[in-house]
């Protein structure tokens, strides 16, 4: 028996030594979790560019496409297991949380080598250091079916109040057409929360002030919440919009069943490619204003490099390589206006001279951060990605909760997240 165990242990040791030896002989591997984008051309080109980089540097590359709604769960699991990817592309508000966790590598080498625009720097800015590289800005626009408004002899609305009043006239649910298509599902995306915050700010409410204090419980925010809820309770949005995810409004608008959406250039690129007739009936303008002006929360896609990844140097090198001028300029064109650049010198071409595309470029320079006017920290951005305002609206619309009670609860939720 002893002999048997001795042989078994020796065998196990031999196998483990062999395995270690084989591991050492393995080539360096760069793991890239890319965001699955609405425009398929992005992932195809990004993959090809990444593989080209890996081949040129003699390393093994693993390119994985991950839907935005799944990224957080997968990433948290990989962080917990101590095996995060080397590079990810994600929304700026998610990246800022990873920066706050202390999981990211400083990207000084990239930001020193590349001259990013101020807009780019804004979406990558985070209080505790230099951890995020801005990949592109995704300015949102206000899409409106101008033909439907003209049909009723109405001017396009420029204020929230006008939008509400004209929407009531245009609304035609009996024939399957709703004036507004605002998603309000707590699905993890940013569209619904961004829309809520833009209205709250333009009504004079301030979720978190510039000193980081929760200041959401105010008469102005209360009015904003009542206004947003009325868009659903008055039947101006499809009833199911209260649970739509970020794709819901894209689908509804391209299907011609809603008259207004707020979205990034993703819908614009899709209309150009697949629905040119609908694009002709669409006007893309700035957001309506409220008593306190117009606020357009603007974010974008960013790169993060994880410090516990296996190939830190190569990861930083790849991020720098991504902004190689010809590739980046061509990629922006392929994105059909959905993306606006974060570096200078890539807009001097026919594409960006087209007024329709130039409008997106201008819009990208006028936005405010998603957490405006709060300082950008992991917790203020967590309050955005937790979709707290969205949940408050759902409480009012679905559970019939009194708006002031919903606002009191919302204030408490903000304080819980910020630890106040």
């Amino acid at each position: 028996m002893r002999k048997f165990i001795l042989v078994l242990v020796s065998l196990a040791m031999g196998v483990s030594l062999f395995a270690n030896g084989a591991k050492e002989a393995e080539s360096q591997k760069l793991v890239f979790w890319d965001k699955s984008e609405y425009v398929q051309a992005y992932n195809e080109q990004s993959k090809a560019h990444f593989e080209e980089f890996c081949e040129a540097n003699g390393i093994e590359g693993e390119y994985i496409i991950i839907p935005p709604n799944d990224l957080k769960q997968k990433l948290l699991a990989s962080i917990e297991a101590g095996n995060p990817p080397d590079i990810i592309v994600t929304d700026d508000f998610s990246a800022k949380q990873y920066a706050g966790m202390g999981q990211l590598l400083s990207v000084d080498s990239v930001t020193n080598a590349i001259d990013f625009t101020q807009t780019g720097k804004n979406i990558a800015s985070v209080q505790n250091g230099n951890y995020i590289v801005p990949m592109c800005v995704m300015a949102p626009g206000f899409y409106i079916r101008s033909d439907k408004w003209e049909e009723k002899g109405l001017d396009l609305p420029t204020t929230w109040e006008e939008l509400f009043e004209t929407a009531k006239i245009v609304n035609d649910p009996e024939n399957g057409f709703y004036a507004l298509g605002y998603p309000m599902g707590a699905s993890g995306g940013g569209d619904a929360e961004s829309m809520c915050r833009s209205i709250i700010l333009s009504f004079g409410g301030v979720p978190i002030d510039e000193n980081g204090n929760v200041t959401i419980n105010s008469p102005e925010t209360l009015e904003a919440l009542k206004f947003i809820a009325s868009l659903y309770t008055e039947g101006l949005c499809p009833p199911s919009a209260i649970t739509w995810d970020d794709m819901g409004n894209n689908t509804a608008y391209t299907a011609g069943s809603v008259g207004v959406i707020q979205n990034s250039g993703s819908v614009f690129s899709q209309l150009k490619e697949e629905y040119p007739d609908l694009l002709e009936k669409t006007a893309i303008t700035s957001y309506p204003s409220g008593p306190y002006g117009t606020y357009i929360p603007t974010g974008g896609n960013v790169f993060c490099v994880f410090k516990n990844g296996s190939s830190n140097d190569m990861a930083l090198k790849y991020v720098e390589y991504f902004f190689e001028k010809d590739f980046y300029e061509n990629l922006l064109t392929e994105m059909q206006g959905m993306w606006q650049p974060t570096i200078d010198g890539v807009t001097d071409n026919d594409f960006w001279k087209d007024p329709a595309n130039a409008g997106w470029l201008a819009a990208s320079q006028n936005g405010v951060p998603n957490t405006y006017p709060a300082p950008v920290t992991d917790l203020t951005t967590l309050s955005f990605s937790e979709q707290l305002c969205v949940k408050a609206i759902q409480q009012i619309v679905l559970n019939g909760v009194d708006p002031q009670k919903a606002l009191d609860d919302l204030e408490q939720s903000f304080k819980d997240v910020l630890g106040q």
Binding site: M101, G185, G188, P239, S240, I242, T243, Q394, Q395
Partner: protein, 295 residues
């Protein structure tokens, strides 16, 4: 001599059992202990954490959402099991009879079980769509409804919608388990009952049901445990929404852990239901044991 042989055999038994016991401890025991410990901390992934005592448990027990989710879990489990059992039994009785095309029907009934869960969930989600979904279109065309039913957005209907899908997917398991049991019943038992003057109902209650009782027990208990822990069906169709109206313990735990990044609290939620699952396992164990001793 005999005693020493028995002792030696016992020793050998322990030695041979050790690797599997060790493996089970590594795979199940250690993570369970770790889960239990973490449930007493304020752990959030990526941040440092410390012990908070029973704070997580107190918080979840005070949270109305937890009780809503627990209530949903019981409604979901009980209604799914009862309906799967009744319908599965009925279909099994039907398919136990001889008729033309029986083979084809039997194979067709396997389809819901054979389709990957993700595909089925997305298909149902599309069918449930209030504006474009085929269910509302059919109901409207036959004049059953005037305005679309909000299958996934109405907080009173969302749970029913996911229950329907679970039943649809789970019927084949009951059907084929019960069908297998029915085929083992000796037809002479029915003949004898007929001679004794038993009608159809009495033959069903006194011959069919007792004969397949062991099958019914095991099938029901296994399915109860699976249904209690069901995740993908609900997560992929409603995400537990709206406002947790269709959320069950598994989806609530997942969203607390990975969406809100409150790992300590999420693990407290999962630990809190262990007593319920343990009771189910004890019942299962006893029933399996009594069925075996009956033979």
């Amino acid at each position: 001599m005999q005693n020493s042989l028995i002792k030696q055999e016992k020793k050998l038994g322990y030695i041979f059992s050790f690797p599997i016991v060790f493996l089970v401890f590594i795979i199940i025991g250690l993570p369970s202990i770790y889960t239990f410990i973490i449930s007493f901390t304020n752990k959030r992934i990526g941040y440092s954490y410390h012990f908070v005592g029973v704070d997580n448990y107190l918080r979840i027990f005070k949270d109305p959402t937890y009780w809503l989710v627990l209530r949903n879990t019981f409604i979901y489990t009980v209604s799914c099991i009862v309906l799967k059992l009744v319908l599965g039994f009925a279909f099994a009785m039907l398919l136990n009879e001889k008729f033309k095309g029986r083979g084809f029907v039997r194979v067709s009934m396997l389809v819901p079980w054979a389709i990957p869960g993700m595909v089925a969930a997305h298909t149902w989600r599309w069918m449930y769509n209030d504006q474009y979904g085929i269910i509302n279109v059919i109901l409207k065309n036959i004049g059953f409804i005037d305005s679309p039913i909000l299958w996934l957005s109405d907080r009173n209907i969302a749970l029913i919608s996911v229950i329907i899908v679970n039943i649809w997917r789970g019927i084949p398991f009951f059907l084929f388990s019960i069908l297998g049991g029915l085929q083992t019943i000796d037809t002479q038992l029915y003949d004898a009952a007929k001679v004794d003057g038993a009608n159809v109902v009495k033959r069903f209650l006194n011959v069919t049901v007792p004969s397949i009782a062991p099958v019914l027990t095991i099938t029901t208990l296994l399915s109860t445990i699976w249904t209690f822990n069901d995740f993908d069906n609900i997560w992929l169709i409603t995400g537990g929404g709206p406002l947790n109206a269709s959320s069950v313990i598994s989806t609530y735990t997942y969203s607390t852990a990975f969406i809100s990044n409150q790992m300590g609290r999420a693990l407290a939620v999962s630990i809190s239901i262990i007593p319920i699952l343990v009771i189910l396992l004890i019942i299962a164990n006893k029933m399996i044991g009594s069925n075996e001793s009956d033979r």
